[in-house]
């Protein structure tokens, strides 16, 4: 049976992981390569790297890092951050990324999704959406969640899927950082709207939150989180054991 995926997410700035992590057995806790190896050896099903660098020099460092990661870690790698053109797709794919995540780039230029999917296949194009409730409506936010686009989120996701997006990462701004569970209402709405894999993000604070996610919404394919893994509050082997005990199929 297909397993539910657990995905740690690493933010990289100038070639270093930001939000330093808390593992004693790593000699360099800000090294993307060391962290990627650590997670891969400890049960992560996939890794997401977000490049939050603004400078060209930082961008070059990021692709160097990515090449090193892809040369040492043999699980699927998704890369996002600063993906605005087909050249950006080519740049990260040539370094060994398997999937490319678009967010603001797709909002600025929706045709990017279509052309990238045509060239690299739907499975390669991941839509990442930052969503917040405004006046009782799910709205799409851009620029790392800072700017309200005014667009209704479910319709936006549906149109991107029809243009070729193969997977959707749903980031709830309302639950992000609160550590009180995933945004089940929002995720349910997305799962009912599209038939591609849906990855839940934002709000995980404990193992129980993942159990609740997959129990309540069996259509959700994966759970993504950052700080609870980085700070060791939840380890992936513990998480998977608990999911397994609760009848949720995971890779062990």
């Amino acid at each position: 049976m297909i397993t539910k995926r657990i995905i740690p997410c690493l933010d990289v700035k100038n070639g270093r992981v930001v939000k330093g992590v808390n593992f004693q057995d790593l000699s360099d806790v800000n090294s993307p390569v060391e962290l990627a190896k650590y997670y891969s050896e400890n049960g992560a099903d996939e890794l997401v790297f977000y490049d939050i660098t603004a400078s060209a020099e930082g961008r070059r460092l990021f692709t160097d890092i990515l090449t090193q990661v892809a040369g040492t870690v043999f699980i699927p790698l998704t890369v996002g951050g600063g993906i605005n053109t087909l050249d950006d797709f080519a740049r990260v794919l040539s370094c060994g990324a398997d999937k490319v995540s678009v967010n603001s780039g797709a909002i600025r230029n929706p045709d990017l999704v279509h052309t990238a999917a045509k060239r690299y296949g739907n499975q390669c194009v991941v839509l990442s959406v930052d969503i917040k409730r405004v006046d009782g409506m799910f709205r799409v936010f851009a620029k790392g969640g800072r700017e309200d686009t005014g667009m209704e989120a479910i319709g936006w996701i549906r149109s991107c899927v029809s243009m070729g997006v193969g997977e959707v990462v749903v980031n709830s701004i309302d639950t992000d950082g609160v550590k009180d569970g995933f945004d089940l209402e929002l995720l349910d709405a997305v799962c009912n709207a599209v038939s591609v894999p849906v990855i839940a993000s934002g709000g995980a604070g404990s193992i129980a939150d993942f159990v609740e996610l997959f129990h309540t919404l069996p259509k959700v394919d994966a759970g993504l989180a950052a700080s609870i893994f980085h700070f060791g509050e939840v380890t992936i082997p513990d998480l998977k054991n608990e999911l397994d005990k609760n009848g949720i199929v995971v890779r062990k």
Partner: protein
């Protein structure tokens, strides 16, 4: 030496790195002379069957691969590369394949229930048919070990050549073997330590 066939389909960086990781000498090439001197050949592939087959045929690599395989050289097709080993595919029309493994490539949707998502994407457990000896590339792999899949079509009607399946509303072909010719629908180069064990075992199978 392991030669990964470069015919302009997809990125081969991870695949090359994964063979290097298991200690193989590996090269990426589209040169028939190098493919001829290689000890084993890996045929990768992503994208649509028709496009990939057209590229193989345009460079005459189809003939090279068939010749090398017939002489007993171990050949491993991965993902679309596995599908290309079949006699034909029904992906967007009907296209002939290399014919090194019996059977045809068909849409998953024909056998997978409506409520399951397509593509079949993610980690799924391997099952080995009870009625045949385990294929040598799986010598270190246990029943239900997980590997990484991404596909919308599958190899059907491969009869005795079927060496592993994965359950996704139906038993889908996960791997095939016809003598010295091997194929995996999943990506061993993206399947962690399980995948690396499979590549290592392929590097150690003896030519027939």
């Amino acid at each position: 030496m392991v030669a990964i066939v470069d015919y302009g389909v997809g990125n081969l960086f991870s695949l090359k790195s994964s063979f290097a990781q298991v200690g193989a000498e590996v090269t990426v090439t589209g040169d028939p002379a190098i493919l001829h001197t290689a000890d084993r050949i890996v045929l990768p592939g992503v994208g649509a069957f028709g496009d990939a087959a057209a590229k193989l045929w345009a460079t005459d690599l189809n003939r090279v691969l068939i010749d090398e395989a017939r002489q007993g050289k171990p050949l491993l097709g991965i993902c679309l590369g596995m599908q290309l080993l079949f006699e034909k595919s029904y992906e967007y029309g009907e296209h002939p394949g290399l014919g090194l493994v019996p059977g045809a490539v068909r849409p998953i949707r024909e056998v997978v229930p409506e409520d399951l998502k397509i593509p079949h994407i993610g980690w799924n457990g391997l099952h080995f048919p009870a009625n045949r000896e385990k294929s040598p590339i799986f010598r270190d792999i246990r029943e239900n070990d997980c590997v990484y899949f991404v596909h919308s079509y599958y190899g059907a009607d491969c009869g005795d050549c079927l060496t592993a399946t994965a359950e996704y509303g139906a038993e889908l072909t996960a791997a095939v073997q016809n003598g010295n010719i091997y194929g995996t629908q999943f990506h061993p180069e993206k399947s962690g330590s399980v995948g690396l064990s499979i590549l290592k075992a392929f590097c150690e199978v003896t030519p027939s």
